[in-house]
Symmetry: C2
Subunit: 249 residues, 2 copies
DNA sequence: TATATAATATTATATATATAACTTTGTCAA
DNA sequence: TTGACAAAGTTATATATATAATATTATATA
């Protein structure tokens, strides 16, 4: 069991990172309980023989991780683990896209249509204007996993379509190739049950649980360029995270 | 439109934060495009008349926000916005618990039972050992919103039960009162459809979409102390976030 | 006792500097 | 042209120091 109490200057790990781990471990062991004040920065300096800025950096890391809170003039206090600050990432979602060996993208349909009310609202355009509709399925090991339906602004001047279609893999969206044409995106996750259209595309039955990941992307002028939804079978995806002080790597 | 280009030393906002905003805005405006190299740290020092450490701090902030990436010896580069690093917070979930005015907790059932296989596995105990089962519903404005089913280790020596039951509001779990008895938790989110039991508790129909938030909490010896699930109506909860460079506050 | 004031401790911000590690570029020789 | 090497540029880490802002504690005063 790791039980570091001093900072090893010969170690590969930098001093500030070592101090972070030392403090985290002490908190994890219950030496400092929620509500307790940590030693002041100057005390930590003396005890571990590091400079104030190094201590500061370590404290900041603990702050970022939501493990402690600081009050100017008072001290640094251990936070009780709570769920309010917990985050979960799309990493696992991203992983599905990552290995290009196992996953393929099948384009079901591409057509130019007149917008319905919902799309007009999302893309901030007039009802009836033309948009490009793309429907695709992401297939892993022959199994359809994710259904994607997207509508893009139809703009002959700036042919985003070609760029989008070139990327038949959707890969660019998730790894940041530098070819992405959008500056910013709003994303929402909802729980849903599969509609018939979605179930057909995913080759399963309707009324199955699913994640619905809705996205709107904006260009550099903050105008919407595309809107769409990823539909993901609930039995194939699960988001995990931890709260509190987890073990050191 | 904010268009800050110099650092105002009289401003309330500290220099490093101002520099973060300046750089973010330039990236948002497309002055630096994905893949571009930012000016080197020493150049930024000269241009904005701040010390290297201050520039460093700003760059680190951009790193944390996933806006740039750095390569030692080479430079700092603007990242293309990608979904891989996107995170969702439980803030909105947390908000439901926060206002004690509107929300009440109704305890449906508390009993001591012998564990089934699933619970024994989650709590790392033997099959048939006793656990405490608690079923509650969180009600907002008279409407049942969240159904919670939890099983705790039955340990006469350490009566966690009383503590749990005192907190009839579940509030402590989410705000970190310092009274929480656990050190660490694993959390998973799944998409699901309501079972009959869940639908009854939530006073709605089964087969409706729902989020299932499963949690296991551990004590300071890393032994599981409780396991449970929050079931949340999908039409009452939605997680949102943004990707890329969003506008400054 | 209660209140205001001073002193002290603590975090927050900022500067200046130094060394190390790594990358890129340029130079020179084979 | 190619490869080896040196030089310059860039980020990463660390120290030492200073000032400001806030909180806490002690002290003096009424």
């Amino acid at each position: 069991m790791g039980n570091q109490t001093t900072i090893d200057r010969q170690a590969f790990e930098p001093a500030y990172a070592q101090l972070v781990n030392i403090l985290k471990e002490q908190i994890a062991r219950g030496i400092y309980l929620p509500g307790d004040r940590l030693p002041s920065e100057s005390e930590l300096c003396k005890h571990y023989h590091v400079s104030p800025m190094t201590v500061r950096r370590s404290i900041n890391a603990l702050l970022d991780q939501g493990i402690v809170s600081t009050t100017q003039g008072s001290g640094t206090y251990v936070k009780a683990p709570d769920l309010s600050g917990v985050t979960f990432s799309l990493e696992e979602f991203h992983n599905i896209f990552k290995d290009k060996e196992r996953t393929k993208v099948k384009i079901l349909e591409v057509l130019i249509i007149k917008t319905d009310a919902t799309t007009a609202n999302r893309l901030a355009i007039d009802l009836g204007e033309r948009t490009i509709l793309i429907r695709r399925v992401l297939i892993r090991d022959g199994d359809p996993i994710i259904y994607h339906k997207e509508q893009l602004i139809y703009d002959p001047v700036r042919p985003i379509v070609e760029a989008e279609l070139e990327v038949t893999s959707l890969h660019g969206l998730f790894v940041g190739t530098g070819e992405t044409k959008f500056k910013r995106g709003d994303i929402a996750i909802e729980a849903a049950v599969l509609t018939k259209e979605e179930a057909d595309a995913l080759n399963t039955m309707q009324m199955q649980p699913a994640f619905r990941l809705e996205h709107i992307f904006y260009d550099f002028e903050d105008k919407p360029v595309s809107w769409g939804r990823f539909i993901c079978r609930g039995d194939r995806l699960r988001f995990t995270t931890t709260v509190g002080v987890s073990h050191r790597t």
